[in-house]
Amino acid sequence: MILSDLLGSPVLTADGERVGQVVDARLALDGPPDGFMVRTRVYGLVVSPHAHRSFAGYERTGVDAPALIARFLSWRARGSVLVLWTDLASFTDDVVRLRPGARLYSPRLEHSGP
Protein backbone atom coordinates (compact mmCIF):
# COMPACT_ATOMS: atom_id res chain seq x y z
CA MET A 1 0.00 0.00 0.00
CA ILE A 2 1.29 3.47 -0.77
CA LEU A 3 0.30 6.73 0.86
CA SER A 4 -1.46 7.92 -2.29
CA ASP A 5 -3.89 5.01 -1.91
CA LEU A 6 -5.19 6.74 1.22
CA LEU A 7 -4.98 10.40 0.23
CA GLY A 8 -8.21 11.65 -1.31
CA SER A 9 -10.25 8.68 -0.11
CA PRO A 10 -13.68 9.57 1.29
CA VAL A 11 -14.22 8.88 4.99
CA LEU A 12 -17.61 7.71 6.20
CA THR A 13 -18.94 7.13 9.70
CA ALA A 14 -20.35 3.74 10.70
CA ASP A 15 -23.78 5.14 9.75
CA GLY A 16 -22.60 6.11 6.29
CA GLU A 17 -22.42 9.85 6.99
CA ARG A 18 -19.63 11.58 5.11
CA VAL A 19 -16.91 13.06 7.30
CA GLY A 20 -14.71 14.29 4.46
CA GLN A 21 -11.74 13.02 2.59
CA VAL A 22 -8.26 12.06 3.67
CA VAL A 23 -5.84 14.95 3.16
CA ASP A 24 -2.91 13.63 5.16
CA ALA A 25 -1.66 10.75 7.27
CA ARG A 26 -0.26 11.45 10.72
CA LEU A 27 2.76 9.33 11.54
CA ALA A 28 4.12 8.49 14.99
CA LEU A 29 7.83 7.81 15.35
CA ASP A 30 7.52 5.76 18.52
CA GLY A 31 8.38 2.20 17.59
CA PRO A 32 11.46 0.09 18.23
CA PRO A 33 14.70 1.00 16.38
CA ASP A 34 14.54 0.35 12.64
CA GLY A 35 17.98 0.99 11.19
CA PHE A 36 18.92 4.63 11.73
CA MET A 37 15.30 5.54 12.57
CA VAL A 38 12.57 4.08 14.72
CA ARG A 39 9.65 2.13 13.34
CA THR A 40 7.10 4.64 12.23
CA ARG A 41 3.41 3.85 12.25
CA VAL A 42 0.31 5.52 10.90
CA TYR A 43 -1.23 7.17 13.95
CA GLY A 44 -4.27 8.64 12.26
CA LEU A 45 -5.69 10.37 9.23
CA VAL A 46 -6.36 14.08 8.78
CA VAL A 47 -9.77 14.43 7.17
CA SER A 48 -11.15 17.58 5.59
CA PRO A 49 -14.82 18.04 4.63
CA HIS A 50 -14.03 20.75 2.05
CA ALA A 51 -10.49 20.73 0.70
CA HIS A 52 -9.19 18.04 -1.64
CA ARG A 53 -5.63 18.62 -0.52
CA SER A 54 -4.15 20.52 2.36
CA PHE A 55 -1.79 23.27 1.28
CA ALA A 56 0.96 24.32 3.69
CA GLY A 57 -0.97 22.99 6.70
CA TYR A 58 -2.10 26.39 8.01
CA GLU A 59 -5.03 24.76 9.81
CA ARG A 60 -2.66 22.47 11.71
CA THR A 61 0.34 24.57 12.60
CA GLY A 62 -1.06 27.79 14.03
CA VAL A 63 1.03 29.86 11.60
CA ASP A 64 -0.92 33.06 10.87
CA ALA A 65 1.28 34.93 8.40
CA PRO A 66 0.92 36.21 5.77
CA ALA A 67 -2.46 37.03 7.28
CA LEU A 68 -4.57 37.00 4.12
CA ILE A 69 -3.17 33.71 2.87
CA ALA A 70 -3.39 32.16 6.35
CA ARG A 71 -7.04 33.17 6.67
CA PHE A 72 -7.94 31.90 3.23
CA LEU A 73 -6.18 28.56 3.60
CA SER A 74 -7.51 28.07 7.15
CA TRP A 75 -11.01 28.81 5.88
CA ARG A 76 -10.54 26.37 3.02
CA ALA A 77 -9.53 23.65 5.46
CA ARG A 78 -12.25 24.52 8.00
CA GLY A 79 -13.82 21.60 9.79
CA SER A 80 -10.76 19.36 9.41
CA VAL A 81 -10.47 16.57 11.95
CA LEU A 82 -8.04 13.85 12.98
CA VAL A 83 -9.30 10.28 13.21
CA LEU A 84 -7.07 7.74 14.88
CA TRP A 85 -6.12 4.49 13.18
CA THR A 86 -7.71 2.62 16.08
CA ASP A 87 -11.06 4.11 15.07
CA LEU A 88 -10.89 2.91 11.46
CA ALA A 89 -13.07 -0.10 10.65
CA SER A 90 -12.20 -0.76 7.02
CA PHE A 91 -10.54 0.58 3.90
CA THR A 92 -12.22 -1.04 0.92
CA ASP A 93 -13.16 0.25 -2.55
CA ASP A 94 -11.05 3.35 -1.80
CA VAL A 95 -13.42 4.30 1.03
CA VAL A 96 -12.41 4.58 4.68
CA ARG A 97 -15.12 3.61 7.15
CA LEU A 98 -15.01 4.47 10.86
CA ARG A 99 -16.01 2.24 13.74
CA PRO A 100 -19.21 3.00 15.65
CA GLY A 101 -18.44 5.61 18.30
CA ALA A 102 -15.25 6.77 16.58
CA ARG A 103 -13.95 10.00 18.07
CA LEU A 104 -12.90 13.05 16.12
CA TYR A 105 -9.87 14.97 17.35
CA SER A 106 -8.35 18.33 16.65
CA PRO A 107 -5.95 18.11 13.70
CA ARG A 108 -3.60 20.66 15.21
CA LEU A 109 -0.04 19.45 15.04
CA GLU A 110 1.63 19.68 18.42
CA HIS A 111 5.16 18.36 18.08
CA SER A 112 5.69 16.09 21.04
CA GLY A 113 8.32 13.80 22.40
CA PRO A 114 12.08 14.03 21.85
Binding site: L27, G35, T40, S80, L109, G113
Partner: protein, 134 residues
Protein backbone atom coordinates in the same frame (compact mmCIF):
# COMPACT_ATOMS: atom_id res chain seq x y z
CA UNK B 1 -19.74 24.12 10.97
CA UNK B 2 -17.40 22.11 13.14
CA UNK B 3 -14.74 24.19 14.85
CA UNK B 4 -11.49 22.40 15.58
CA UNK B 5 -11.07 24.47 18.75
CA UNK B 6 -14.00 22.52 20.17
CA UNK B 7 -12.38 19.19 19.42
CA UNK B 8 -10.20 17.44 22.00
CA UNK B 9 -6.48 16.98 21.42
CA UNK B 10 -5.56 13.42 20.47
CA UNK B 11 -3.88 11.16 23.03
CA UNK B 12 -0.18 12.06 23.38
CA UNK B 13 2.46 9.99 21.62
CA UNK B 14 5.80 9.05 23.21
CA UNK B 15 7.82 9.90 20.11
CA UNK B 16 7.77 12.53 17.44
CA UNK B 17 4.65 13.07 15.37
CA UNK B 18 4.64 14.32 11.80
CA UNK B 19 2.15 14.65 8.99
CA UNK B 20 3.30 12.77 5.92
CA UNK B 21 2.04 15.09 3.19
CA UNK B 22 2.98 18.22 5.08
CA UNK B 23 6.40 17.23 6.36
CA UNK B 24 7.71 14.43 4.14
CA UNK B 25 6.37 14.55 0.60
CA UNK B 26 8.34 16.67 -1.87
CA UNK B 27 11.23 17.02 0.58
CA UNK B 28 14.67 16.67 -0.94
CA UNK B 29 16.64 13.54 -0.03
CA UNK B 30 20.34 14.05 0.70
CA UNK B 31 23.11 11.52 1.28
CA UNK B 32 25.65 11.84 4.17
CA UNK B 33 27.82 14.17 2.04
CA UNK B 34 24.89 16.43 1.23
CA UNK B 35 24.60 15.12 -2.33
CA UNK B 36 21.00 15.41 -3.58
CA UNK B 37 19.49 12.03 -4.42
CA UNK B 38 15.90 12.78 -5.30
CA UNK B 39 12.69 13.99 -3.68
CA UNK B 40 10.12 12.10 -1.67
CA UNK B 41 7.24 11.44 -4.06
CA UNK B 42 5.31 8.92 -1.99
CA UNK B 43 5.59 6.54 0.96
CA UNK B 44 5.35 2.78 0.98
CA UNK B 45 3.29 1.54 3.91
CA UNK B 46 2.78 -2.02 5.09
CA UNK B 47 -0.58 -3.31 3.94
CA UNK B 48 -2.94 -4.44 6.71
CA UNK B 49 -3.71 -8.15 6.60
CA UNK B 50 -7.44 -7.58 6.11
CA UNK B 51 -8.53 -4.22 4.73
CA UNK B 52 -12.19 -5.09 5.34
CA UNK B 53 -11.54 -5.50 9.08
CA UNK B 54 -8.68 -3.28 10.10
CA UNK B 55 -6.78 -4.38 13.17
CA UNK B 56 -6.42 -1.43 15.57
CA UNK B 57 -3.38 -3.08 17.16
CA UNK B 58 -1.44 -3.32 13.90
CA UNK B 59 -1.44 0.00 12.06
CA UNK B 60 0.53 0.28 8.80
CA UNK B 61 4.19 1.13 9.26
CA UNK B 62 6.36 3.15 6.91
CA UNK B 63 8.59 0.83 4.90
CA UNK B 64 10.19 3.06 2.31
CA UNK B 65 10.36 6.46 0.70
CA UNK B 66 9.30 6.26 -2.94
CA UNK B 67 10.61 8.35 -5.76
CA UNK B 68 9.67 8.20 -9.41
CA UNK B 69 8.65 10.02 -12.58
CA UNK B 70 5.50 11.61 -11.20
CA UNK B 71 5.61 14.90 -13.10
CA UNK B 72 3.11 13.83 -15.76
CA UNK B 73 0.64 12.45 -13.21
CA UNK B 74 0.78 15.73 -11.30
CA UNK B 75 0.03 17.71 -14.44
CA UNK B 76 -2.53 15.44 -16.05
CA UNK B 77 -3.80 13.51 -13.02
CA UNK B 78 -3.88 9.78 -12.48
CA UNK B 79 -1.47 7.71 -10.48
CA UNK B 80 1.87 6.17 -11.20
CA UNK B 81 1.87 2.36 -10.93
CA UNK B 82 3.69 1.17 -7.82
CA UNK B 83 6.18 -0.67 -10.03
CA UNK B 84 7.49 2.63 -11.47
CA UNK B 85 8.62 3.89 -8.08
CA UNK B 86 12.13 3.41 -6.75
CA UNK B 87 12.34 2.50 -3.06
CA UNK B 88 14.61 4.02 -0.46
CA UNK B 89 14.20 1.90 2.69
CA UNK B 90 12.96 3.80 5.74
CA UNK B 91 15.64 2.04 7.79
CA UNK B 92 18.41 4.12 6.13
CA UNK B 93 16.71 7.45 6.82
CA UNK B 94 18.72 9.29 9.46
CA UNK B 95 16.82 12.55 9.87
CA UNK B 96 13.61 14.20 8.77
CA UNK B 97 13.74 17.97 8.74
CA UNK B 98 13.55 20.53 5.99
CA UNK B 99 15.35 17.83 4.01
CA UNK B 100 15.37 14.08 4.49
CA UNK B 101 18.83 12.69 5.19
CA UNK B 102 19.80 9.09 4.50
CA UNK B 103 22.81 7.14 5.70
CA UNK B 104 23.85 5.71 2.32
CA UNK B 105 25.89 7.28 -0.47
CA UNK B 106 23.88 8.57 -3.42
CA UNK B 107 25.87 6.39 -5.86
CA UNK B 108 24.84 3.25 -3.98
CA UNK B 109 21.11 3.88 -4.39
CA UNK B 110 18.94 3.01 -7.38
CA UNK B 111 17.22 6.37 -7.03
CA UNK B 112 20.23 8.18 -8.50
CA UNK B 113 20.73 5.91 -11.55
CA UNK B 114 19.63 8.57 -14.06
CA UNK B 115 22.25 10.99 -12.69
CA UNK B 116 24.93 8.30 -12.90
CA UNK B 117 23.88 7.29 -16.42
CA UNK B 118 23.99 10.91 -17.60
CA UNK B 119 27.39 11.40 -15.97
CA UNK B 120 28.93 8.22 -17.41
CA UNK B 121 27.39 8.24 -20.89
CA UNK B 122 26.87 11.89 -21.73
CA UNK B 123 28.76 14.35 -19.52
CA UNK B 124 31.99 12.34 -19.48
CA UNK B 125 32.14 12.38 -23.31
CA UNK B 126 32.04 16.16 -23.48
CA UNK B 127 35.60 17.59 -23.60
CA UNK B 128 36.45 18.67 -20.06
CA UNK B 129 33.56 16.72 -18.65
CA UNK B 130 35.72 14.36 -16.60
CA UNK B 131 37.12 16.89 -14.15
CA UNK B 132 36.04 19.86 -12.05
CA UNK B 133 36.21 23.31 -13.65
CA UNK B 134 39.53 25.04 -12.97
Amino acid sequence: MRNDRELPAPPPVAGRVLDADLELLDRQILDPDGVPISAVDDLELSTPADLARLDPQHPPVVQALLTGPILMTRIFGGRLPESRFIRIPWSIVTRVGTVVSVGAAADSLDASWTERWMRDHVISRIPGGRHDPE
